[in-house]
């Protein structure tokens, strides 16, 4: 509810078309959206208690009404599927359903033949539950109330994973994802052979897709193609310089 409200108010959203014309704008916009999401999260936590008051004071838009009937008062979407309250010490099953740790622990401990997710009946187990660590999360008051509930399962941590998109020491081409062009020098007189490549000039049409989050994967592909084309151009120049200057060129490398 809050997010949609914020999104509506986001002035950059409305000027999306204009922003595509400006190369820097999309990056700015991305950042803007990120901060919006962040705001939403902290907002949601901070005001879990105040939400009810807000609901009363807020003008009852259509979306608001839907929420009021779908979930009960409070944190809108982050409710435990068992106690219907905002999840305390939240855990998520591998099938993606959110519970309080205390609630799902009680369900798992029921005398039953099979352990199933209460929502989708996919198999669950204590070991595969994933904890959700929120900022400034607090202990469930019920664990203090004398119920024998063990600690919730810990998150599974992995070692660092190498980023395949990160091209370390990109050499001549660099890893010039952020800039819009680069300079390439060749031979004895670099100044003479300097070529100023500009993405915008050569691959102007690609501009539309850039920075437009949905096309990110697509972008990656076209960038690869561009690099291949550049390599071809480069090799062509190498060949030409070899023809004109003989082997001398390579001595200077």
């Amino acid at each position: 509810m809050e997010y949609s409200k914020l999104a509506e108010n986001d002035p950059l959203q409305s000027s999306e078309n204009e922003s595509n014309a400006n190369l820097n704008q999309p990056f700015k916009q991305n950042m803007q959206i990120n901060t919006t999401i962040y705001d939403y999260h902290s907002f949601n936590q901070k005001t879990a208690n105040q939400n009810e008051e807000e609901k009363k004071s807020a003008p009852s838009s259509g979306a608001n009404k839907d929420h009021a009937s779908a979930g009960s008062a409070g944190g809108a979407k982050f409710e435990c599927n068992i106690c219907l309250d905002i999840a305390n010490e939240p855990v998520v099953s591998t099938c993606g359903h959110l519970y309080c740790w205390v609630c799902i622990f009680q369900w798992i401990n029921q005398p039953k033949e099979t352990l199933l997710c209460p929502v989708c009946k996919s198999g669950i187990s204590k070991e595969t539950l994933i904890p959700i660590y929120t900022k400034g999360s607090q202990e469930d008051p019920r664990t203090k109330a004398g119920q024998e509930v063990p600690k919730r399962p810990a998150g599974q941590r992995q070692g660092p994973v190498p980023n395949q998109n990160f091209n370390q020491g990109g050499g001549l081409f660099g890893n010039n994802h952020s800039g819009s062009g680069f300079v390439m020098g060749l031979g004895i007189f670099p100044a003479l052979f300097t070529l100023n490549f500009n993405w915008d000039d050569i691959f102007g049409q690609n501009n539309l897709g850039r920075g437009n989050g949905a096309n990110a994967a697509n972008n990656e592909e076209t960038r690869e193609q561009q690099l291949q084309r550049l390599l071809l151009i480069f090799m062509f120049f190498m060949f030409m310089s070899f023809v004109f200057f003989g082997g001398d060129v390579f001595l200077t490398f």
Binding site: A68, S69, S72, N81, I82, C83, L84, D85, H97, C103, Q106, W107, Q110, K112, L116, P118, V119, K121
Partner: protein, 211 residues
């Protein structure tokens, strides 16, 4: 002790939903009292002060033998709720293979071992409504009804309709008087008999026949 909080929440949600439906049906100029709206409308409220004893109401689904009927359901919420299913039983007599015609006991998997805490009283009542639409004679609660359903469906439908008519419809006093008059008793005597027996149709009829 399991949370009363959840029960309170469910109750509040149901009450809000009921309120909404009533207002919308007013807006649509349809009949707000019978609530025969096309939506899957169910209601529930607590009995007295006991948060663990509810009465549910479901409306007979359209195009079934139960159409037009209003069925009351007794709901008892166990201490382990929501980890154990609520105990439900039809108060209103109903002719259905999966519901006992004598006790109102219900044979529905989600009220037994298929219950999950993600279900609520509301969803359980909606499931009951669906059960009225789709009887399951191979897993019967009432063997006699199930046998009739399988061997003579026409008779089953007739019986179910009659039961709905007799037990699941709220009749005004005038309706009852009319009914008795159709049997050949004079109007004033019918009224008197009904008055005497607190508008109980059967007792009044007995009285008329006997005296």
């Amino acid at each position: 002790m399991v949370d009363n909080g959840r029960i309170m929440k469910e109750l509040k949600e149901l009450q809000e939903a009921t309120k909404n439906v009533i207002t919308t049906s007013y807006q649509q100029q349809s009949n707000p009292i019978t609530l025969q709206s096309p939506t899957q409308q169910v209601q529930a409220s607590i009995v007295g002060d006991n948060l663990r004893h509810w009465t549910g109401t479901i409306f007979g689904p359209k195009d079934t033998c139960f159409e037009g009927g209003i069925f009351k359901i007794d709901i008892e919420i166990p201490g382990e709720y929501p980890f154990k299913p609520p105990k439900m039983r039809f108060i209103t007599k109903i002719w259905h293979p999966n519901i006992s015609s004598q006790t109102g006991a219900i044979c529905l998997d989600i009220l037994k071992n298929e219950w999950t805490p993600a279900l609520t009283i509301r969803t359980a009542l909606i499931s009951l409504q669906a059960l009225l639409c789709a009887p399951e004679p191979d897993d019967p609660q009432d063997a006699e009804v199930a046998r009739q359903y399988k061997s003579d469906k026409k008779l089953y439908e007739y019986t179910a309709k009659m039961w709905t008519e007799n037990f699941a419809k709220e009749q005004t006093v005038d309706d009852k008087v009319k009914k008795l008059m159709e049997m050949g008793f004079p109007e004033d005597i019918c009224k008197e008999a009904l008055e005497r027996y607190d508008n109980d149709e059967n007792l009044a009829l007995n009285f008329l026949l006997g005296g």
